[in-house]
């Protein structure tokens, strides 16, 4: 009886180790030459959204506990923005057999479409104006 009880108690105690998942990465500028600090980062894994900010070296990380279902094989989507720059990326959660599961998703920030469209419009208008004036 005693060994059975001891085993039961130990298995209860041992079974509580939950493996967390960390989604992490680096936020880069548009040509991947510099890391971007203080970018707003939104991570979605298994429909659970987490927000954070990149550190001074451009890295970010968020944690998911086991019950949130961000487990091995799940895809984490990361969106980052800073000022008029934004970008997104995704990474797969891997169980490397280490302390935590890990998904790496680094994001490259590029000018938003609105900015690009705006700049193209301005230059287009200027070009047409010059052509008309020449004629």
């Amino acid at each position: 009886m005693m060994p059975i009880m001891a085993l039961l108690i130990l298995s209860l105690a041992g079974g509580v180790i939950a493996k967390n998942t960390v989604v992490a990465g680096v936020i880069w500028n548009s040509d991947n030459s510099a890391k971007v600090p203080l970018a707003l980062v939104a991570v979605t894994c298994n429909s659970t959204l987490k927000n954070t900010t990149s550190l001074s070296d451009g890295t970010y990380a968020v944690n998911y506990v086991e019950s949130e279902g961000c487990s091995d094989g799940t895809t984490a989507t990361v969106t980052a923005s800073k000022g008029s720059l934004s970008g997104s990326s995704s990474g797969t959660v891997h169980d490397f057999g280490l302390t935590v599961n890990l998904a790496i998703a680094s994001v490259t920030l590029t000018p938003e479409f609105g900015i690009i469209a705006g700049v193209l419009t301005v230059f287009g208008a200027l070009g047409i104006f010059m052509i008309v004036r020449r004629k």
């Binding site: 001891a6 108690i9 509580v16 890295t59 968020v62 944690n63 506990v65 949130e68 490397f96 280490l98």
Partner: protein, 172 residues
């Protein structure tokens, strides 16, 4: 020793006492500890402030990229160096790799150097071990971009240089 290990040692000690004395009090203590540990796990906050928060490990991870910085490279040999302690691994098909250190060996603010090699391509980068809010391990994120090795570049320049001289000479 983290809190979980501490509890486990305590349980084993209590178990020993129970075996030795077979007292009802010891059994009660064991059951209470087991129940409290299960309760702590069940009611841990979503940010993971449960037992796992005391792991004391440093995880180094990242992705290996081709020179275009957009194509992940799988099967690259990755060497991680933190405080002269090396870890070796291979990148997965999506370029991801990860290794673990005990935080005594690779503590907070330590510099980590990651070198990756695949065929004639190689690359290296450094990262700093950081702590992040709500993360149970210290982390260093190091993405590595692979470029042709110097020998390869030199070889190509030599080859094209020789071809250029040959063509120039022939024209004359």
């Amino acid at each position: 020793m983290n809190i979980f290990e501490h509890n486990k040692v305590f349980i084993l000690k209590s178990l020993y006492l129970f075996m030795k004395n077979s007292t009802f009090t010891t059994l009660s203590i064991l059951i209470m500890i087991a129940i409290s540990m299960v309760t702590v796990s069940a009611f841990a906050t979503p940010e993971g402030s449960g037992i796992g928060a005391f792991s004391g490990n440093t995880t180094v991870g990242g992705k290996i990229w081709a020179s275009d910085s957009t194509t992940p490279v799988g099967g690259a040999n990755v060497t991680v160096n933190c405080n002269s302690t090396m870890r070796y691994t291979t990148s997965l098909s999506d370029g991801a790799y990860s290794v673990d250190y005990n935080s005594i060996i690779c503590p907070l603010s330590a510099s980590v150097t990651v070198t990756a090699i695949k065929g004639s391509l190689s690359g290296s980068t450094t990262a700093t071990v950081q702590s992040f809010p709500y993360i149970t391990v210290n982390l260093a994120i190091a993405d590595v971009t692979l470029t042709p090795e110097f020998g390869m570049i030199t070889g190509m320049i030599t080859l094209f240089g020789a071809l250029g001289i040959f063509m120039y000479t022939r024209k004359k």
